[in-house]
Symmetry: C2
Subunit: 396 residues, 2 copies
């Protein structure tokens, strides 16, 4: 077991502070990493001896981003659909079928290669933990395959057989819900930590509240944690369902009524509102009101929703810049939501904060201050730090 | 003189087409580069022999971005001002004084090192030509120094002594205009191709139309081409002044009346409206109406305005994604404006289009289609291609 000292840190953002300094910023700090974990944090002047040393040249160290919502196992290209949407074609979830067809047609090797390349990309943008959903297979074999491939890269895998009703079940919605909650769940559960459902009355392809309730109840019965896609395309029952069932997170939260905000605030200890502003950017939709959620006392997270339809960006820094520009968050609130907040939505305490004993998932910013994440939009200033000893995306 | 073949091009975007295919896209194409210039373009199957070969692996090749508006010679940090503005503090141009003080205090070596690092950054984001303005010196010696340093990196240098009225001349505006149009211009002109002025009645720090006219007339007399910052913070005379004087470009164009649009359309052959949507993003301002300009027949360009106050982004891909989301441009129109359009605003025909005899400034996109510039916001898919033979930012 070797140790690595990380020194020359211009600004250490631990995300372990208390409001109003959520970020717990330390200056003149250093870290010791052992076996992929943080073994020591203190003043640079007191740094103990270590087997190796990385000097980050007065740059900023933050917790690696936790991207708690992605759909990265897919094949095919939908750039043309995106361009059409930018000229006014609305999004209703129907394009998912295009990706389903391409994903089913791809080989295991091709899907694995594509996913590996996407994981490389997000690490170069500073993300160190990613949640990955299935949902472009929609058959027992294809959903299981997606989860098995995702599982090679993360423990945070989510069974999303209830992404859309596939075309072949358009006339038999109940039959598809039977499949998802029966044989598909049974086959998928060993490879998934979570179950998720696209609960959205405004899309004919998505699931209504009773269908979603069946899916989530079956998932809970199978031992999976609950996540919900809710209130994306218009007001809907997704938030209330997630709160009622004690889901870890309800994602999107674009259209919230006062009752939804109050409900999320009441369960802030264990249910997070995950905001995905990249989707609103890429679908030219209104943005969620993050400041209202925070003012009410709700817990929030930020994630990319990286997917080929509604947001093909893997960049958490870009999401942070949008959250500051468009959602009314301060740069500190946005960074906290993208690290500790997202970790909370995964019910993880070992990531998202740089404290003793936590994973040494460190991201370095080529900047004098974390403010540059919002101040320098579109510039790739963040990257996951590779530690010679142990920090290279350790097996979870 | 050695030659390099560029092969394996999945999509070649020449930007030499005609409306509605502005982009002049070729498939199965290859290029030969000799001495930094395009010596041959044709079908891959017919590629002549060359001394070296670069296979770009089925990626996209586009003309390198032309960033025709930047303020890259500066020292100091304004991240805190940015964060304050995001909580509601308006922008009126006053923060420029902060950068002036820091820039004057920096050594030549420090300014050169900072600029070199910014040039590296923009090349990694796909930009191959950048215009650089002075304007953070505002003394004869400091303006000349900025231009001399900028000149080491580009021939497209712009004298912007008329950026703001410096604090020490606040009570003697006419005296400062005398300085800018007299001794400062005389000393700066040998190092500048262009002169520019911040003509903005809505900022107490900027220049009114008569002051701006004096500055531009003196610059023309000294042999410099004309550029104007106009109509940024509200309706104003900048566009009309630029048109009247035959400027190559009027930049920002955020607030245009019908008369401004008509005037720009009438001079589309030689005066470009340069849009800088990163500024509207970073100052939370309304966006210019690019579609209205195009519909009227005006020429448009896109640039970053990379500067420490109102847009500290050097990313042309990010600007393109904003132009599609917020300005109503198609991905093709946005890419054309960021290459051939920006080249036109610099009155250059040797860049911005990939045609025989032009500079081989090639940018490669890690994507199957140029659409990904808009489809993948925040993801650094573009980079300037380094050619072993000649393509590495050749001296201009």
């Amino acid at each position: 077991m070797s140790s690595t000292a990380v020194t020359g840190i211009g600004q250490l953002v631990t995300c372990d502070g208390t409001d109003p300094d959520l970020l717990g910023i330390r200056s003149n700090a250093a870290l010791i990493v052992e076996n992929g974990l943080i073994a020591w944090i203190g003043s640079a002047a007191d740094t103990p001896a270590a087997d190796a040393q990385i000097d980050v040249g007065r740059r900023v160290i933050i917790p690696g981003f936790v991207d708690s919502h992605s759909h990265l196992v897919f094949a095919g290209d939908r750039g043309t659909e995106f361009a059409a949407r930018m000229t006014g074609q609305p999004y209703d979830g129907g394009g998912i079928g295009v990706t389903v067809a391409a994903t089913r047609a791809a080989s295991d090797d091709e899907l694995t290669r594509l996913l590996a390349s996407r994981i490389d990309e997000l690490r170069t943008l500073g993300t160190t933990t990613v949640e990955i959903k299935s949902g472009y297979g929609l058959t027992v074999a294809d959903e299981v395959r997606a989860l098995q491939i995702a599982r090679q890269f993360t423990t945070e895998t989510t069974f999303l057989g209830a992404h859309v009703i596939p075309a072949e079940y358009a006339q038999d919605r109940a039959g598809y819900v039977d499949l998802v909650t029966g044989p598909m769940l049974q086959a998928a559960a060993p490879y998934a930590r979570w179950i998720d459902v696209f609960c959205e009355p405004h899309s004919p392809h998505a699931f209504d509240v009773e269908e979603a309730r069946r899916v989530l109840a079956a998932g809970a019965e199978a031992g999976l944690g609950l996540r919900v896609h809710g209130n994306q395309l218009g007001p809907g029952p997704g938030v209330q369902l997630a709160v009622e069932l004690g889901a870890a997170t309800v994602d999107h939260c674009t259209y919230l009524g006062d009752g939804d905000v109050d409900a999320l605030a009441a369960v802030a200890e264990h249910t997070v509102a995950t905001l995905l502003p990249g989707v609103e950017f890429c679908t030219r939709s209104p943005y969620p009101d993050a400041a209202r959620l925070l003012a009410a006392g709700a817990s929030i997270a930020l994630a990319t929703d990286c997917n080929p339809g509604t947001c093909y960006s893997s960049s958490m820094p870009w999401v942070i810049s949008l959250a500051v520009r468009e959602l009314g968050l301060t740069p500190a609130q946005a960074l906290f939501a993208a690290t500790a907040g997202s970790a909370k939505s995964l019910r993880r305490t070992d990531i998202g904060r740089l404290v003793l004993g936590n994973r040494a998932d460190l991201t370095v910013l080529d900047a004098p201050s974390y403010l540059h994440l919002a101040y320098r939009p579109g510039v790739p200033i963040a990257r996951a730090l590779s530690l010679t000893a142990s920090g290279e995306m350790p097996a979870e």
